[in-house]
């Protein structure tokens, strides 16, 4: 455990990847990566090899989230170690290929940083997704980004929940960073969302360059929202949803939800209230892709994480 006085020495981040199209209908990432594949000048930084990459080209072609199975859940140890073969779902094959190029996951050869670009239909604004509360490099990067874009806001979602955490495409890197910007409908490209994502990436790459040049980043506190639980829609015996996200909750990502607050509204107008034991901060409210994953929203709690001082080795 590091104290405020100790500096964590980390290796330079020399190999960085930017993934777009992990979900083929989330257009900001698809568009940005295609742009940078053609002309990568904007993403070049001294001492860093930055590779833009379309992870799920078949899904991008169809403008669908996925072809056989969600690529962003496919990087499990089972899938990655399974023998390669054409009988596997497309995304499992793809996960194995990507692991070969940017991994192997968990090995010293894995890429240092992977940014995975996503959009959501939820009103989440700019969100950075963190997979470990002990990744000081990522925490410092996120702190840097938040300060750089202020007064615009960029919140950090921490998903370290043992059951709700999933095997993302970015998880093969030593430092996985999810970028989630919304609200944007699937298949649609909105200018404000596109530009916001572009700006966040610019600052993220600036941070990496500064770190690699030897800058020391002093210890700091980063506010995060830690994922608690997934809340599904009320459903009938056949699994059909019987209520919608309540108008008072719709679009209120990151705002406090208190016990007794309206949560769902039935089709004939009745209110179903939140029955939790305390205030939570909901997010991913009414994300299109999560209807099939039995999720109307996730609850989070606010936490302050301390990032140790970091400097390159």
């Amino acid at each position: 455990m590091s104290s405020f006085n100790s500096i964590v020495s980390l290796e330079e981040a020399r190999r960085v990847a930017i993934f777009g199209g992990t979900h083929g209908n989330e257009m900001s990432g698809v568009t940005l990566v295609n742009l940078w594949v053609k002309n990568g000048a904007e993403i070049q930084r001294k001492g860093v090899e930055t590779k833009p990459f379309i992870t799920n080209p078949k899904a991008v072609e169809k403008c669908a989230r996925y072809v056989d199975t969600d690529l962003n859940r496919a990087f499990t140890p089972e899938n990655l170690s399974a023998p390669q073969g054409d009988n596997q779902p497309y995304e499992v094959q793809r996960a194995q290929e990507i692991n070969g190029i940017f991994g192997p996951k968990g090995s010293p050869d894995a890429y240092d940083v992977i940014f995975d670009l996503h959009n959501t239909t939820s009103n989440m604004g700019c969100t950075l997704i963190l997979e470990s509360s002990k990744d000081h490099f990522n925490l410092q990067m996120m702190n840097y980004i938040k300060k750089a874009i202020a007064p615009s806001s960029c919140l950090v979602l921490l998903n370290e929940h043992p059951l709700l955490k999933y095997s993302t495409s970015r998880s093969i890197a030593k430092h996985p960073v999810g970028l989630e910007v919304g609200p944007q409908p699937q298949g649609v490209l909105r200018s404000n969302i596109f530009e916001a994502m572009r700006v966040i990436l610019k600052h993220a790459l600036d941070f990496i360059e500064l770190f690699n040049e030897g800058m020391e980043f002093p210890s700091c506190t980063v506010e995060v929202f830690r994922v608690l639980e997934r809340i599904d829609y009320p459903r009938d015996a056949n699994g059909n949803i019987i209520a919608m996200v309540h108008p008072n909750l719709q679009d209120c990502d990151w705002e406090p939800l208190n016990p007794g607050d309206p949560m769902f509204q039935t089709f004939d107008g009745k209110t179903i209230r939140f029955q939790g034991s305390g205030t939570v901060y909901p997010t991913f409210i009414n994300e299109a892709a999560y209807y099939e994953k039995q999720q109307a929203f996730v609850t989070t709690r606010r936490e302050s994480l301390v990032a140790s001082s970091i400097r390159k080795v």
């Binding site: 409908p185 649609v188 089709f267 209807y291």
Partner: protein
């Protein structure tokens, strides 16, 4: 203008899921089926999920856009093994709710849609029909939750391609903005309210009320504008400008920003003053439409009442 009379509107069809990822209509229809709302007073209601296969996979369509399959030619084309699903389905629906242009067709067909564009509540009419335009006038004066607008797509009846042309009278209810695959409560409630007002109006009409003459505003599409594209790859090179995005119906004038290229240049609008709509509708990227441009017109409606025999 002379009072116009029409036969009673006793058989109504409410359709949802014509595009399988436009969730509102699907759930309005399901809720009406759950409430068993098939006969209310003088009106018998048939509810239909138009494209169940597309609904199942939450896609706009499986092979072809169902809402373009109701031309006379496609409705009478022979079915073979290679006939796309939606063409077959259109013929099934025509047998159920039509046949189109026959005496057996439902009196009124109301088709529910969503758009990713910020169009609020918009009723779409494919012909100048006093009866359905009076329904619009009624909905507009009774709905306070959002502005209600009308879009008149006048094409000759012989070329009508969409589902509501199967009914003797028909119109679409288009509500947005709502992403594909998402069900928003506010949008659902608006659409349900519009359907309820429609049925209310029909009761009044059938029971002999006269609806007074008056003027309504409507929009008629003049042309469409595509995204700027790369000449070799055909990929789009710009996106709707932030100052145009979400400003459906707001007058667009020459010099106003229209697109913002990925390299940061603003493309300005040149042309006559017109009203943009369907701005950044997801389904229109493949139809090469960034937005439509429309003229605002005033339509004078005669008074109407039911034909008494």
């Amino acid at each position: 203008m002379e009072n116009a009379t029409f036969s009673p509107v006793s058989r109504v069809a409410i359709c949802g899921g014509t595009h399988g990822n436009e969730m509102t209509g699907m759930y309005v229809v399901r809720e009406m089926q759950r409430q068993e709302a098939d006969q209310t007073g003088s009106v018998s209601i048939t509810t239909v999920i138009s494209n169940p296969r597309a609904v199942e996979v939450c896609r706009r369509y499986t092979e072809r856009d169902l809402n373009r399959c109701f031309t006379k030619a496609l409705l009478s084309s022979p079915i073979t093994d290679s006939t796309p699903y939606e063409v077959r389905r259109a013929q099934e629906i025509n047998a159920l709710l039509g046949p189109k242009e026959s005496q057996e067709a439902v009196d009124l067909l109301c088709d529910l849609h969503n758009t990713t564009a910020n169009m609020g509540m918009c009723l779409i009419f494919y012909s100048l029909d006093w009866l359905t335009l009076h329904i619009y006038k009624y909905i507009q004066s009774n709905m306070t939750s959002a502005p209600v607008r009308a879009l008149l797509m006048s094409s000759p009846k012989s070329e009508a391609y969409s589902l509501e042309s199967v009914g003797k009278h028909g119109f679409s209810i288009e509500v947005g903005p709502q992403p594909n695959g998402v069900l928003r409560a506010d949008i659902f409630n608006m659409a349900k309210e519009a359907v309820d007002h429609t049925i209310e109006w029909l009761h009044k009409f059938n029971s002999g009320s006269t609806f007074e003459e008056g003027e309504v505003e409507a929009y008629t599409v003049v042309k469409s504008v595509d995204y700027p594209r790369d000449p070799t790859t055909n990929e789009i090179t710009a996106t709707i400008h932030p100052e145009l995005q979400d400003n459906d119906f707001k007058l667009l004038q020459p010099g106003d920003p229209m697109f913002l290229s990925f390299s940061g240049e603003t493309v300005k609008y040149e042309g006559e003053d017109l009203h943009p709509l369907f701005i950044n509708e997801c389904a229109y990227y493949e139809k090469k439409i960034a937005f439509h441009l429309a003229k605002k017109i005033t339509v004078t409606l005669p008074s109407i009442s039911v034909k008494k025999d």
